[in-house]
Symmetry: C2
Subunit: 305 residues, 2 copies
Amino acid sequence: MRARPSETELIDRIRRAAERPAGREVVLGIGDDCAVYRPRRASGDLVFTTDMLIEDVHFRRESHTAAQVGRKALARGLSDIAAMGAEPRFCLVSLAAGSWTDGRWIDGFYRGLLALARQTGTVLAGGDLARAGKLYCDIVVCGAVPRGSALRRDGARPGDRIYVSGRLGGSALGLAVGKGKAWRRHVALQPRLALGRFLRAKLKATACMDLSDGLSLDLRRLCLASGVRADMQAPPRFPGATLEQALHGGEDYELLFTVRRGTRVPGEFEGLELTRIGEIGRGRPGDVRLEGVPLHPGGYDHFRA
Amino acid sequence: MRARPSETELIDRIRRAAERPAGREVVLGIGDDCAVYRPRRASGDLVFTTDMLIEDVHFRRESHTAAQVGRKALARGLSDIAAMGAEPRFCLVSLAAGSWTDGRWIDGFYRGLLALARQTGTVLAGGDLARAGKLYCDIVVCGAVPRGSALRRDGARPGDRIYVSGRLGGSALGLAVGKGKAWRRHVALQPRLALGRFLRAKLKATACMDLSDGLSLDLRRLCLASGVRADMQAPPRFPGATLEQALHGGEDYELLFTVRRGTRVPGEFEGLELTRIGEIGRGRPGDVRLEGVPLHPGGYDHFRA
């Protein structure tokens, strides 16, 4: 065992160690955007995601307002809910306020978070509060979905078409330039909730996930989960973003999804572009090629960074 | 608005700001040990708690093994589940590994956590992983309870008798001496799950919470939630603990509960003492007296510490 395993290796190890007993109400466990829970005798499934937002890892206090941090904390969780095709129900927020935060900052944080919560029908149901040196936030969002219909990562099959929503690399570009449209994209991401429901209910997407760590790494994860490989072309780029940023830049929070060959996918959904970027194939699981050339996953890994 | 509000004031402010819309599935929101969620058409309620465990706030790496930290992270959440009279179903674990942690430490953390998870029937269903300077863990536990039967903080009424389980102050004593039985009590708390179910199903407890921040502060919180006052006597002490430690020491994780006058409470439950320590009265909400003398809440407040 190496002393410094990658994030992916760690998650695999934890999943194996968790070896959950059969026949439980947890329908889908570690490794997807959300866990899926089926309450006894309920008509639907509940999906759960948890997302951390850490000072100097995910944001800097000099460049984000309190309201932007609060909004972002919830938006990241909602993006996972969108990726499952679910509707948000409630959230729990754990906040370890940094030693530099005062009551005004904390009020601003919750103001930003609650504005997005109201906009998306998410109830703030509880949480935990503490103090620490740096600010640390962890959010849990629960969503609801008709029984057995959550969009997972493991349903892509050879022949399926691969799509992304929007244009990629905007968040990485924003982080690099620190201003303008790309910066606003970086700080104020919009979870694709309506699109997720559309993909589940209308297009019957075979797999779906949100792009949080970069297309190259995330597509590889989808392929590994589904036991397939992928051939792709260059994805649509955010204005000004480089190909590098569009392929490997994190925090775009667009949806990556696959549909059966022959599915009619509209060119846009509610003003958001939907672009075909490739095809699922048979072969070594997790193998991703860009215009025929093996694409090294260059996205963000917390344990390799 | 003061720049440094207390934890209790902050929670009140967040609760007011959250102003949840009526008629939702969130039956009980901010302010209790758990939030209560009622899935549509389900026969039971789900309860949720979230608990942070932060290096140098809740533990020190020099004095805890990785397995002890992992076990404690889950045990604190399970203690909240016990306080609702619920049965644990699954947990989600967010771990920001400290810069000093290696793969071996992380494996040990999950080994300790999963041992307690198996022992209590809790499935590890998912989570999040990241790196940060200090170790930070946040855990969510979901439990199930028959519809409408969760034990809340707000049900105590004048005339009800107040009880605690076990003997108090052991964790504070353990922290002070750093060895022996009290230290083992501090590092290896035992969530009172079977007792919680007994209190709900057999004794029909009117209110219940777990003792995490010290009896004086926690009893005050129970009284505030129920709109009542309390008269108490000295609680049973852990061998060697001072009255101060038993009244104000945190992390005992015993259960504090009230029952209707006339309820037959056994002297012990599965080897754990149950001791009557007082009575609920009419009067100024949150007013707690020890042998007739006003008891200042001396427990732990993250925002006053």
